[in-house]
Symmetry: C2
Subunit: 374 residues, 2 copies
């Protein structure tokens, strides 16, 4: 019964043995066999968003944040003005990287337990004609809140503004159809809902947008236009690709197709989420978000009020039972997070709840009920 | 006898089965077990350059070029002036990324078949007092030429200039002792002579230099000061690390120690290089560089004059025999390259030469002798 700990974290996450075994081969980055892997990957990724005719997808070495920074650097001209819709930690990160690279950046703040507001966006755009681009996090992983992508995209389209979407933890699990949602760039990564290993991101970009993006980037490494042009010409990555990570993602995507694509994956995660919430509620825990704005990706729970609770000890006791939790990312309220994504199903979520119950017993935490009113 | 093709490429390269099998586990990036892997890795890396007391090492997600860009962005103030010593493709890349990010950049050109010159550097520094930093590629992978690191570092030290060294393909194979070679930053990557898989770089930085580097970077992703401060505080990477790549590098470094460290690895690569050169010369091939300036990392050979030679067909015929060559990177002369690095020894190099001989016979290439005078 010995097995590796299951990661209830929003990426890196638990991958299948088959995905990991795809890394047991070395690839020449210039070789035609590897070029074929990259080409196949790009084709399949475009299919997931139905962007075959209208968009390109540009892979990039590094973490998801690298790809978000690259999207902003490549899409927003140096004279542009980015409005970031902020309801959490990853929104703030987008604002920070945009500011650092010298793009004019405005933050439109929201409460962390609420989705961002299309109405407030509408007013902001009316109030400042210099805004050229809007930045949105689809599922804000800091809390797990689902932001209204379609409504935000519609407002941007109506005002003729560019839209950059960080869809890191929603892509491949929640529906995103490029024929209906108008975006300039949409960013995701290998180690999230496609269930690959971490090490590369990728950015979907509308064709007319990428064609006009030459010379925007202040950075060679982050220049998606340059990466795209080179890849189109040679089939290769400009700089050494993380070959094993790419091969693992290709293998993970075969399993994604076999499972039934986005709708099947989304359904499994929704079942994971339901099993987790039901089990945790039975132990007295209270989710931070209202159910109707909760994405089935990662759950934030209030810390129990019981004085026997200490996150570090709780984490270790759950880990000893084979499950890795994730710390909270809120500054005002004490919380912890539990991911619903990865190569796991409702059975593992039920086991995870049992591990939490065992940890509570060990530590003498009588109930998960928090101090805050539920 | 079925085995994967051996990569005679300068990274990605052939890694051991043991290194690849280290990727068969998923790691939580926040978890103490993974923090211990990162911490151990950083400690061991510092030991290789004898920089334990004087330097820090900052790992970074992405390819080696990302780490070079990050070193320039972090170390060179926005008002700085970088002089790049240029004798090949990777020098030009450093010049390009420095220019793009808005640092004043001057290129000091050299012939591609010659090492860069400490004397010319001396004159350049005398001629322009505004130069604040010098950029050097230790082993220029475009040709394989070894540049005189110690002599260049001595000139920089005498003039009080910063030195940024791209030691991508020399680190861990050629001796670099931070107690003797004075550098501000020295950059290498996982998938080179440490024989890990590609996906992360790392930068050695002198302590007083990193301490003064806050706020230099135009980029969040590329900010090594920010990465360092966060890692020192938490043991974690700022953004999702390529966990499997990190685990593979840790395993590769255990084998590096077992082999006997840098001197043993350098000796094996030198033996690989000698076996390759002897075998190829016997077939009529002529190396592009003189032996005394050739690093035992990657060899550039002139293309044969025989009209039956065509690189693509030659490459495919050698590949069919189990070895992956590398294209040339020179614009004026037709060449191809053969790497000596990776988890291979002189026996594999001899087999590689036999594969080349077999390919020549198949294609009707009578001799490897080039058109140029040897």
């Amino acid at each position: 019964m010995e097995r590796d700990a299951i990661l209830l974290t929003p990426g890196p996450l638990t991958t299948t043995e088959r995905t990991k075994r795809a890394m047991l081969r070395d690839w020449g980055s210039w070789d035609s066999s590897f070029i074929a892997v990259t080409t196949g990957l790009r084709r399949q990724l475009l299919k997931i968003v139905h962007g075959e005719g209208s968009h390109v997808v540009v892979p990039l070495q590094g973490s998801g944040t690298f790809a978000v920074e690259a999207a902003v650097a490549t899409i927003v001209p140096k004279t542009g003005h980015v409005l970031v819709l902020d309801n959490g930690a990853y929104c703030k990160r987008m604002g920070r990287l945009s500011t650092l690279m010298g793009r004019k950046t405005t933050i439109l703040g929201h409460a962390e337990d609420q989705p961002v507001s299309p109405t407030e966006l509408e007013s902001a755009l009316r109030g400042d004609a210099s805004i050229s681009h809007v930045g949105l996090i689809h599922c804000e992983t800091g809390t797990g809140v689902l932001n209204p992508l379609q409504a935000i995209a519609d407002v941007c389209a109506r005002h003729g503004k560019g839209l950059i979407v960080d869809a890191m933890s929603s892509f491949a699990a929640l529906p995103i159809d490029a024929r209906e949602v108008r975006f300039d760039a949409l960013v995701a990564a290998s180690g999230k809902c496609l269930e690959g290993v971490p090490g590369m991101g990728f950015v979907f970009i509308r064709k007319d947008v990428i064609d006009g993006a030459a010379g925007n980037s202040h950075s060679l490494a982050m220049d998606l236009h340059d990466q795209h042009v080179y890849m189109e010409k040679t089939g290769q990555w400009r700089f050494t690709p993380p070959t094993h990570v790419v091969a693992a993602l290709a293998e993970a995507m075969r399993q994604f197709e076999e499972e039934g694509g986005q709708s099947a994956r989304g359904a499994r995660y929704a079942a994971n989420c339901a099993a987790l919430v039901a089990g945790m509620k039975a132990l007295g825990f209270v989710p931070f978000l209202k159910a109707e704005i909760q994405a089935p990706i990662i759950l934030t729970f209030h810390a129990p009020a019981d004085p026997a609770y200490d996150f570090k000890r709780f984490y270790d006791a759950v880990k000893a039972r084979g499950f890795i939790l994730y710390p909270g990312k809120l500054t005002q309220v004490e919380t912890f997070r539990v991911g619903c994504i990865g190569a796991i199903g409702p059975a593992e979520m039920t086991e995870a709840v049992a591990a939490v119950a065992g940890a509570m017993k060990e530590l003498g935490i009588r109930t998960g009920t928090p101090a805050v009113p539920a």
